[in-house]
């Protein structure tokens, strides 16, 4: 039994370690400027955690196997263990954790303590049960006011705009796909109509809740063109699993053409 248990623990450790090393098969491709530092921090954490994990598991496996039926007479020297070894191990673990905290904090400030770059394109992101809508301010660079009593999915006025009365609303463009130009700073303003949703694009390494009653700004710059999934990261009701939209990262000319096409459809 001791041998089997030790083998099982070792095997689990090797498999888990193998899966960790193979991590690039797991983390999706990185397509934003903030993804680099975050992935770097992931790698550091994988190393430290992998070490701690393997040490703990392999030690259990080894001890169980080696001590399995030791006669009593042989172990009196071991009754009180080694405080030096114990202290050193805890100290090493603590130092590793403090170091990790420091680099993590650095990453955090690099990623989240900066405002959007000047000239960022502002886009409003709206979540509702169970769809996403995106609003571009149009040529006047201003969002028209939102009238909650006019919001209606059946008439197609998803965001409650009054294009007759509000001049700022006239050129607003509402889409179901989030189109953005590549290598251009983007500022998103997250809003929700009903319950809490969560804007999550794994490839951007970007996640933020949409809280009704709040306008939450986030920003990013996409570095690679392509189509990616925006998923809802927080349980919002029965259609939660199906609440997704497309993030289309395009070249500048492609984006301009796309936006014109969208404007014509309003």
């Amino acid at each position: 039994m001791a041998l089997m248990l030790s083998l099982a623990i070792t095997l689990i450790t090797i498999l888990f370690g193998g899966m960790l090393i193979w991590k690039h098969a797991w983390l999706p491709p990185a397509i934003s400027t903030i993804a680099g530092p975050i992935d770097h921090q992931f790698t550091l954490t994988f190393i430290v955690c992998g070490l701690l994990f393997a040490t703990a598991q392999v030690t259990v496996a080894y001890l169980v196997w080696s001590q399995r039926s030791k006669p009593q007479s042989e172990r009196h020297h071991a009754l009180h263990g080694s405080h030096t070894l114990e202290g050193t191990s805890i100290l090493v673990a603590t130092v590793l954790l403090v170091a990790l905290s420091a680099t993590s904090y650095q990453t955090w400030t690099r990623v989240h303590w900066t405002g959007p770059a000047p000239g960022a394109l502002r886009i409003e992101v709206w979540g509702e049960q169970f769809a996403w809508y995106f609003r571009y301010p149009g040529p006047d660079d201003r969002f028209g006011p939102v009238h909650f009593n006019l919001m209606s999915d059946s008439t197609g006025n998803y965001l409650g705009l009054d294009r007759q009365r509000d001049p700022a609303s006239r050129d607003d463009i509402v889409t179901a796909t989030l189109g953005v130009p590549v290598d251009h700073p983007i500022e998103l303003i997250l809003r929700s109509k009903d319950v809490i949703h969560c804007f999550f694009v794994p490839e951007l390494r970007l996640k933020q809740d949409l809280v009704p009653g709040m306008e939450i700004p986030i920003h990013f710059t996409a570095t690679r063109t392509g189509r990616y999934e925006i998923v809802c990261g927080r349980l919002c009701g029965l259609g939660h699993y199906n609440m997704h939209a497309t993030l289309a990262v395009m070249t500048e000319p492609q984006f301009k053409a796309w936006l014109l096409r969208m404007a014509a459809e309003q």
Binding site: A2, W26, R68, Q72, S101, M151, V211, H240, Y241, H244
Partner: protein, 598 residues
Amino acid sequence: MAPQVPGHRFLQPQFLRDTARKYVFSSNHKVIGVQYYLLGLFAVGGGVMESLLMRVHLAWPRLPMPWLSTLSPIGAPGGIMTPEIYLALLTMHGTLMVFFVATTVPQAAFGSYFLPLQIGSREMAFPRLNMVAFWLTVLSLALLLSTVFTAGGPPTSGWTASPPMSALGSIAGPGEGMGQTLWLVSIGIFSIASLLVATNFIATTLKSRTRGMSLMRLPLTVWAWFITAILMAFAFTVLLIATALLLMDHIGGYSFFLPANLVVSGVLQRYSGGSPLLWDHLFWFFRHPEVYIAIVPGIGLTSHLLSVFCRKPVFGYHAVLYATAAIGLFGLVVQDHPMLTKGTNSFPALGLSVVAMAVVIPLVVVIFSWLATLWGGAIRLTAAMLFSLSFVTVFSTASVSCIFLAQTPLGLYLRGTYFMVAHLHLMMGLAAIFAIFAGTYFWFPKVTGRLLNETLARIHFGFTFVGCYCIFLPMYFFGLSGLPDCYATIKGVPTLAALQPWNVFITGAALATAAVQPLFLFNLGRSLLKGARSPQNPWEGTTLEWTIPSPPPAANFPGDPPIIYRYPYEYGAGSGTRDYIMQHELKAPSAPSKAAFC
């Protein structure tokens, strides 16, 4: 003389009254401990069934389960599980497991039974309060289960019940009407019951100890129950208030958690002035300590059992004790961390990240103490020991994943994904359940006077240990891939659908692991009826429960409760044939000298 009514002896009113007082509405801590255990067993059965249904649906979303449509004709046309049913199962699974298993069994069941025994008391400090707490828990469970029979079924907002979803009523989705109301009342009552348990445990530990049982002579199990009770007192007070406020929003039209201008399903709602963030702030005062409420009794039990089955004192009794207290203390403080996903000021990120990381250090201290206890020990691989060892490995894995979640930039990515699912299941689920198994295999002989079958127990252990790792390790990698939790199917999102083969693998492992569990129940039942008689102290333990007959007499201790002379882990210290000294023994018992027999 009681009035005699014609009929069988078992139907006599006097007999029924006596039986009810002895086994049903009893204020005896041992009866209540067993009652809590059986309640937990029932809840875990239900919770596992629900998770299996979810797993089958995740692996094979189009598989018809015809009997499902007889159970719920509206929700399952043709027996295909709908997202509503999936979320209802998710809520019920989470609620049963978190509240009625992980909170109830390690603390209320084991603690009610063994806390008085281990400290040399005849009863809990407040026996009637103990009984009231148990029956409130039963009421709470009954209310929770009754949601199944409401028109919309159980709530679909998960066990964290976040508003606005949980506050808006049936407009927010099926189960959000009557189902959510009942859920809130149920959890409110559970909170009251837990506060009574906490009060009782704290008072008993402080006031009912026998002579000589100073605080530093308490077994680590007792310390763990005490620390957990303090955590419960804080956490459940906040939860009680939060559920009361949410209930007022839900049925009274208040707006604690609801802001103005909500448009739900195209209808403008008449609320104003509240914020859903308030719930998150309140709920996290419960949600994070709850992880430690589930796990701290297991930490104590593991330290205790490793010492017994290594025949060595706990390595660093004081270190483990203070580390456990630190885990509890940090557990209360960390609460705000996940707020960062909600765009509130980024500055607290530093402080919270530091605290979240600081929790890992006492975890490391505890783990190293276990390793040091194992080192050089004469390990006895009983079933209880095997489950304690599996607790060590699962707990270590979960502690390592804490390091990911504690770092804000990584935690932000991983929170709300399957990484969190894996982490929580290892920490509160598996570790708590492995501790329950270990406790059962360890204390069953004391409670029933009979030994469990060790061969069956080992088979049960082997499959459970490997199976559980197969279920939960892949989920860490699901999380890294960015798969959000609570998805009824992952086939809706093309980039995530590639993970589907792993879903089938996990479901297979879950079915196999679940299939072994009847072995455990069979072992309990069979041993109860015809297991070998257990000696008074089958594991050669040192604590007070082993000084009395098995099963323990009604008053626990035949004479006066014993006087305590020593610390609880004097293993390897005896002389002659015995390698341990019990807590109530003044001197090491000397071996019968050979000369006496000549």
